[in-house]
Every structure is written in structure tokens, then in C-alpha cells.
Amino acid sequence: MKKVGVYICECGPNIADNVDIERILASVSSMEESEGIEIVAKPYKLLCSGEGQEYLKEEIETNQLTHLVIGACSPRDHNSTFINVCKQTRLNPYLYKLINIREHCAWIVHDKEKATDKAIQYIRGGIRRVLYQSELHEKKLDINPDVLVIGGGIAGIEAALCLAGPERRVFLVEKSDKLGGKAAEWGSLLPRQAGGVKAIQDKIGQTEANTGIQVITKTRVNNIIGFLGNFEAELCQVDDPETTTDLTVGAIVVATGFRLNEVSSLPEFKSADSDEVYTTLDVERMLKEKGQVALQTGEKPKSVALIFCAGREKVGYCSQICCSTTIKIARQIKEQNPETAVKCFIRDLCLPHKDDQAFYQQARDLGVEFVRVQTVKSDGVGVHYTCMDQSNGTEKFDMVILAPAMEPAEGTTELSEILGIPLHETGFYEEAHQTINPVATATDGIFVAGTARGPGGVTATLNQAQAVAGKIMVQLIPGEQIVPEVKVSEILEAFCMGCKTCLDVCHYGAIVFDEDKGISVVKEAVCRGCGNCVGSCPSGAIQLKHFTKPQLYQEVIEALR
């Protein structure tokens, strides 16, 4: 026989003064006969207090309650309080329900009679619902604490260095033959230049020496299946895709970096190979190799134009770091060649880091010229521009340097499909939540750091790599288990007709298709319990635990009485 404990909290005067608790208890008790259950219905002063919780524990045990209903405040306030109470008794916490008769009743219905009627409606609905609730048991899963890092640039290196330890191995996979990525190709770094380059080289050295990090070059990722704590990755060699390796890891870090937009294909920056037109990356390499900027003839240029925001209209976003790095290049050229005219054609300057503006001001003090333009085009080494005051200008230079936009690296689309994580409309990886969860993705256990996530500089990239490490370190603790969500969806085999609609709507990729059986299956460890799949299923084959149709319907019955 089901025995439901119904406890109405007086909440001081908040509930007691605004509803007739006795009448509620009487109405509830009358359900014994109509529903064929036993009911224990009592009021209490303040259930969330220490004494209140002890009282509930005693009531559950003494009365051998099979279900518990509490009429009090909002579940957002105290659901976890009473779940903890249940956990300390034999009552499964999913056979309990907290009904909000304070915020949604006592406080808003100012007529006591009507408020009491409303409270009765809610409590009866809650009792009906709880009788349809099932025991749910939290499962503990063993996890693999190891990490797969995809991309051996500084984001990948930093993440690997932070994560590798005696109890956690890191597999650092890189498609080229060496570590370092783009940052290693630069001769200087912002904001403090020479020291930064050495630090990056040191990090590469540390990574190669670290026995907790296995560096796997000339390799890419073929396939990933699994979920947080239990991923299986298939790697293959770039030159020989038939040669594969399998890895099991607990988390994956995507650190595949960026490439520069192809400015030479843009109509506004026409140039022939013979022209002295370079991108900022070309100049970085030149500065690293030769230590200075020179024309193809080997001579020093007498005039240099640097065009900012090249291709920005095409990509539709600011690449954050080009203003500073292009100013850095302008400064270096001017410092090495004080007689050279260095002219920067700028749009809105993006100097969001606290040292950026001073850096820019110092460039001006050195004699670098800055011209604010509305539009700018180049034809070989001829630059045509319109200023903010609508005046036009045309100048010829010995050398033109274009600062192109940052784009996601080649292969990003393919990799995102292998990983099953979405891309933002700009083509970079999409964060789980741009503001409050910016280095995670829609799939638990897959993280993204560095320019794969969006344009940014070296410091931002390091920050993100460390943030990813932080998240992995707290979620996958060696030797500890994880407890996935229990209020997840399940698909009733008999009703599933294999239409796959649910696969499309699931934001987390928690549903897979079993080809043999011809039905969809929920990966419980991945499911977040939103219920979107339930809403989409044409045959009603999907059920969301703890929010099933029968359960919600019981609330509807009382709502319509």
C-alpha cells in the first residue's frame, strides 16, 4: 500500500497567514479513499530549518513512507535541502516532490479562500504526480583521466604541460612534423617581445622532455566515440591513413589554431607576384629569418604602407590581435630604419588589452604615421584611400604589408564533424556558453582553446589552455568516479519507428542510431535531460525520466479540476 507523507510548511506567517492549512490537510486526507492510498498529512512551522529536516527524517522512518510531498517554497530554494533529507533515509529522493505554494500561491493570491483553493489544487496535483514517479538511482562511472590534445601549437602545448602528471597522461597529436604552430614562426611576441619568444621555445622543450606527454607528430584524428571520462579515439598517420592507432582518454582538447584569410584573392588588394606586397605573417617570418625587412632585391624599403583590417568586410568580424601585431611590425621597421617612411592605414583600432594603447602611442612617438581611413584599396604598391572627412588620397610605396583576418585552420569543418561538436557561424568552434562556459563545447569532455575558438593573441590562448586544464582537472580526478545526470531520456524500443528526428534535435549529440535494430538509443551519460527529443518524437517513444507524460498529466488533472 502506498503511503504518502504530505507536509505543509507554515513558513512563519508567509504561508500560514495566507492559506487555510487545515482545509488543505482535510482535502488531502480525503484522497485516501478516492485514490486507495494511505496519507499522513501534517503541518510544520519551518521545514527547511535544522529541526524541520530532522522532523522529516523521523516522519519518513516512523511512518514508513513510500512517497513524500512537501508544500512550501520554490524548488529553486530548497529542492536540494529535501533531496538530502531523503538521502539520509530509506526513501529514494526521486519519490519526493516539493510543491511551491508560497511564491506561486500564498504570496500572489491575495484572497485567502482562493489562495487555499489554489494550494489544494497544487498539493493534490503533486500527490498524484509523486505516485507516478519512479525510483531513480545515481550511477557511478569509472573514468579515464588521460587527455587527448589535438594540435601542437602553443594552446596544445600549454594544455599538455598543465595537465600532464604522474596520474594523468597526455597524448599531444600534431599533423605537421613539429611542435610550436604559428607562434613559433614569429621573431617577437607581444606584449614583452624578446622574452616571449624564448619562453615559447622553452615550453616546446619542456613538452618534448616531459615523460607524461606523448607527442605524436604527422598524425591526425580519424574518429571519436564516447563521452566524458570514456572516449575512444582513432588516430591515423597523415602520410599513411591506413596506419591507425587507438587511444582511450577521458577528455579531448581541440587546439587546432588558425590560418590567415587569403587576401590576395580579394578584389580590393590586387597584386602580382612581382609586387612588393606581403602579409603580416610573411613579414614575421622575414624578420625571424633575416632580422630585418627587405625588398626582393635585398634593399631596404624607403617607404612602407601597412594596411589594417584587410579582408575584414569579407569575414565579418574583427580579428582582435592584428592591430597590435601590425603596430609591432611598423615599430620594428621604423626602429631599424628611422629614415623609412612608415604609414599605417587604420580603421577602428582594436586595443582592448591594458598595455595596447601605450604600445600604439609609442609607435606614434617613434614617427610611425597613422592615417584613419574609411576605405582603403591597393593596386600592387599603390594605395588608394578615403579618409573620415571624405577626402581621398593615393600614394605609392616601396612595400605594402597587409594585415589579414584570422580564420579557422584548414580541416576545422571535417574535425568538428568527427568530434560531433558545432561550429559558430564564423567557422570557429562554438563554445558551450560564450559568456560563462567559454572553453567547453556542447559535448561534455571536449574542450577548445586558442585560436580554434576565435581570434586572439598569445596571452589569451595561454589563458584558455590553462582554463581547459582547470576544467579537466576538476572534472576528471584520477581514481574518482563521476555521477552522470539521472533525469535523462529513454527511448522505448517498441514504439520507436526509426525516423531519427530525435538525433537532429539533440543539441548534445546524446542520441545515436542502432542500425541493427533500426531504432534510436539515448547515451545516458551524455543526456542533459532537457526533453527536446520528447517534444520531437512523432510516436511518443521517448520519455524523460522524472518528467514523463503520465507524471505531468497528473498535474494537469488537478489543474483542470
Binding site: G12, P13, N14, L46, C48, S49, G50, R76, C162, P166, L189, R192, Q193, G195, G196, K198, A199, G316, Y317, C318, Q320, D348, L349, C350, L351, P352, H353, K354, D355, D356, Q357, A358, Q361, C387, M388, D389, H424, T426, F428, H433, Q434, T435, I436, P438, V439, G454, P455, T459, A460, L462, N463, Q464, Q466, A467, V468, A469, G470, K471, M473, V474
Partner: protein, 431 residues
């Protein structure tokens, strides 16, 4: 007794809360201290945050509640740090916990004590645009949802007069006017400082008329004007008039020249403000006066473009020449255009977007912690140019706007990075 695993986090804004929740998951005990009576920091002062104009409360309230309900996190509000001694693994932090005068365990947040209180004054959390009582929560929806008493304003506590109106109104006996400020010594292994930032005091720039003309607002004041739980219930009625403005000029880059840096977020929230104005008032002329439009993230430019039609972009030069005066009952914003010519716009309201500056207590806290400040007064990051959240002192890390201007995303990333540093601090010493 500390085994070195306990962590102290100073500041319960988004960075501090995120770090505390992460560290709690590892079973570590976290002390989260906050000088205000509520947690949530600056994020909860904005109704909606860029770039998605997402409801800040929806975003942050689950985090606030998780923090307050977490068994590993001890949140100490109305608390400040007085001394830090020791070293990584063995810090002793002396804190001053000011009396709340309301017992958190007994108060259920019903709010019956506010009405009877006879003292009414400007609510500083609402940027002095609304009122509060001596016993108060800074805003509806404050967490913890427990009032505190301003002992300087309370008639009884300040010794002005015998009064027990709130005590009598409380059915739970939760008010205790005999409570005293407490000094506590907390032993921890590592510390994260996440004390945030403030806005530049625009009253220092008399050319802008702030404080002189009631129609000139700071961006934070405007956020409260717009908030549906704020002093105008989101109706955007101006102070001293109850009138909604028909024309508004939003001035970007206030203080940028004087301080020498761009704060990286003001353009975005200024366009957000333009959108709020247009959306709420409809028939209103909006101008965004800017020098550089700074939109660093991949999503920001699109956000600004979506709002472009709702405002008039006005490019101005020589920011130190911009001034606001009054003419024929209207506010007149005088500026120099692209060719240096003098121009002006007449509006009813001016919103100033000031630079982000270090919080008032940053200097004092840096001294207490024995860590450095940079040349702008923010907490200095140690390292050879590639430092992120480390200070010169082992075991003390910094995160969020206390390190420099940035948006919410940046604060969260730094907090998560600081957590990885805390976790690694002693790993190399573990055999």
C-alpha cells in the same frame, strides 16, 4: 587546521564564484569572501549582457545558488581581508566579518522587516537612483536573500534613538542587534584574488557635466534605469523629472585619453544601451559618439551591426575636447569631427561610458598580499610577458577585472586558469 588544500577566494563576482564551484568539486574547502552583503558582483547589475543580450539573472542565479548551497564553500559576506601572513601551503588570512545583525540560519527572506523601518536613504547599489531602508537587501532577488543592517544609518545601532521596529516585525526572531563585528583567522594553502573593477569617476572631468546636470548619467546608472527590478522598473524615467528621454547621446571612450588605455567592453555595452533605448522607447533619437569601435570577439561585430540602424554613429576626435553644457533646457554635447571642426548635438540625456579602473580597495589589498600593481593600478601579472594569472608570490593568483579591463568571458577564463594553477601548486612537490 589546514592541510594546505583549502583555498581562499577574495571576491564573489563571476570569477570568484566560478573558481569556488570548480574547486569545490575536487572536495577542497573553499572560503569565498565578499565585502558586499550579496554575491554576484557586477554582472548582476546588468539586466542583459552582450553579445546575446542574454538575461544576466538567468545566467548567474543558478551559479549564485549553487555557491550558497555548496557544502564545501563557506561564503562570508560583509567580509574584508586585513592581513595575509605565511606562504604557499600555509597562509593565515585575518579577515574582518562585519555584523549583518540578521541571523542567516533563521531568516527566510520574507521581507516583513523592511516596511516598518523608519530610516530611508539612497541605495548605493542602485547607483543612488533609488531608496533603501537601514535594514535592506540591495535589490530584489539578492542572494543570499537575507537583509543586513547599515549600522551607521540604523537609529538604534548608531545610538540616535531607541528603535526596534524590525525586531518586532520579524516572526522568526532572526534579527540580533547585539551582533558584533568578528575577526577571524583562516588558514589556507592558496589564494585567488578576484576583486573586480570600478568605473572611472567621471565627476573628475568637469567638462562632461556629470553631477552638475541631472541628465548626464554613467553607464552603470543607465543599467539600473533599464533594469526591470531597478529604481524605475525599467521605464527609463529620468531623475528629477519622471520623464522618458526623447533624445540620448551615448559617449564612448570617456577617460580613455586621460588613463591611456581602451577598456574593451564599453563600445559593446554602449551599443547595447542604444538598443535598449530604441526597444523600450521607440520614438527616441539615439547617438553613439565614438573614436574607435572596439569589437574584439568573433561575435561582437555582428552584434554591433544588428544595432546599427537603431542609432546614429557619430565619429569624434580629440576626446579631451568633448564637453557637455546646457542650452535652452537641452544638454548640448560639443565635439570635434573628423576634420577637427566643432560640432554639437542637443539631447535630453547623456550616457557616459567611462573607462574601467581598478577597484577602490585594490591598492590596499595588493599591499596586504605583498603583490605588485601595474602602472595603471591593476594587479600585476608575473611572468616574462606570457604570464596569465600568476603574481610574484607563490600560491597567490589573480583573476578577472582586478587584473585589467575585460568582459565576463575573460573573467571566467581567468578564473578557470587560476583554478588550474591552484591545483598544480603543490603537484611538483608530490612524489
Amino acid at each position: 587546521m589546514s592541510d594546505g588544500s583549502q583555498v581562499l577566494i577574495i571576491g564573489a563576482g563571476i570569477a570568484g564564484m566560478e573558481a569556488s564551484l570548480m574547486l569545490s568539486r575536487t572536495g577542497r574547502k573553499v572560503y569565498l569572501i565578499e565585502k558586499l552583503p550579496l554575491i554576484g558582483g557586477k554582472v548582476i547589475k546588468n539586466e542583459e549582457s552582450f553579445p546575446n543580450l542574454e538575461c544576466s539573472t538567468c545566467m548567474v542565479a543558478p551559479i549564485q545558488q549553487a555557491v550558497l548551497q555548496d557544502p564545501n564553500i563557506e561564503t562570508l559576506t560583509l567580509t574584508t581581508v586585513e592581513k595575509i601572513e605565511g606562504e604557499a601551503g600555509h597562509f593565515t588570512v585575518s579577515v574582518l566579518k562585519k555584523a549583518r545583525y540578521v541571523k542567516m540560519a533563521d531568516c527566510i527572506g520574507c521581507g516583513m522587516c523592511y516596511d516598518p523601518c523608519p530610516v530611508s536613504l539612497d541605495n548605493e547599489w542602485e547607483e543612488n537612483l533609488g531608496k533603501r531602508k537601514a535594514i535592506y537587501v540591495p535589490t530584489a532577488g539578492s542572494l543570499p536573500n537575507v537583509p543586513s543592517i547599515d549600522s551607521l544609518q540604523c537609529l538604534k545601532l548608531s545610538g540616535q534613538k531607541e528603535c526596534s521596529a524590525c525586531v518586532e516585525a520579524c516572526m522568526f526572531g532572526a534579527i540580533d542587534l547585539t551582533e558584533k563585528d568578528k575577526k577571524l583567522d583562516i588558514e589556507v594553502g592558496t589564494i585567488i584574488i578576484a576583486t573586480g573593477s570600478d568605473l572611472y569617476d567621471v565627476a573628475q572631468l568637469s567638462r562632461l557635466g556629470y553631477g552638475k546636470y541631472p541628465g548626464v548619467y554613467t553607464s552603470m546608472e543607465f543599467e539600473r534605469l533599464f533594469a526591470s527590478n531597478g529604481p524605475t522598473s525599467g521605464e527609463l524615467t529620468m531623475r528629477d523629472s519622471e520623464h522618458q528621454p526623447k533624445s540620448v547621446a551615448i559617449v564612448h571612450c570617456v577617460g580613455r585619453e586621460e588613463l591611456g588605455y581602451c577598456s574593451g567592453v564599453c563600445c559593446l555595452y554602449s551599443f547595447k544601451h542604444a538598443h535598449f533605448l530604441k526597444h523600450k522607447l521607440g520614438d527616441v533619437a539615439v547617438y553613439n559618439l565614438y573614436t574607435d569601435i572596439c569589437v574584439p570577439d568573433k561575435t561582437h561585430q555582428k552584434f554591433v551591426e544588428s544595432i546599427r540602424e537603431e542609432t546614429q554613429l557619430v565619429f569624434y576626435t580629440e576626446p579631451t575636447e568633448l564637453s557637455v553644457d546646457k542650452k535652452d533646457g537641452m544638454l548640448c554635447v560639443n565635439y570635434l569631427d573628423a576634420s577637427g571642426g566643432k560640432k554639437s548635438i542637443n539631447v535630453e540625456m547623456v550616457i557616459l561610458a567611462p573607462a574601467m579602473v581598478p577597484g577602490k580597495d585594490t591598492k590596499k589589498l595588493a599591499k596586504i598580499a605583498g603583490i605588485g600593481l601595474d602602472d595603471k593600478g591593476f594587479l600585476a601579472v608575473d611572468g616574462d610577458g606570457l604570464g596569465t594569472v600568476e603574481t610574484g608570490k607563490k600560491g597567490i593568483f589573480i583573476a578577472g577585472c582586478a587584473v585589467g579591463p575585460g568582459d565576463i568571458q575573460n573573467s571566467v577564463i581567468q578564473a578557470e586558469s587560476a583554478v588550474s594553477k591552484v591545483m598544480s601548486t603543490f603537484l611538483s612537490e608530490v612524489s
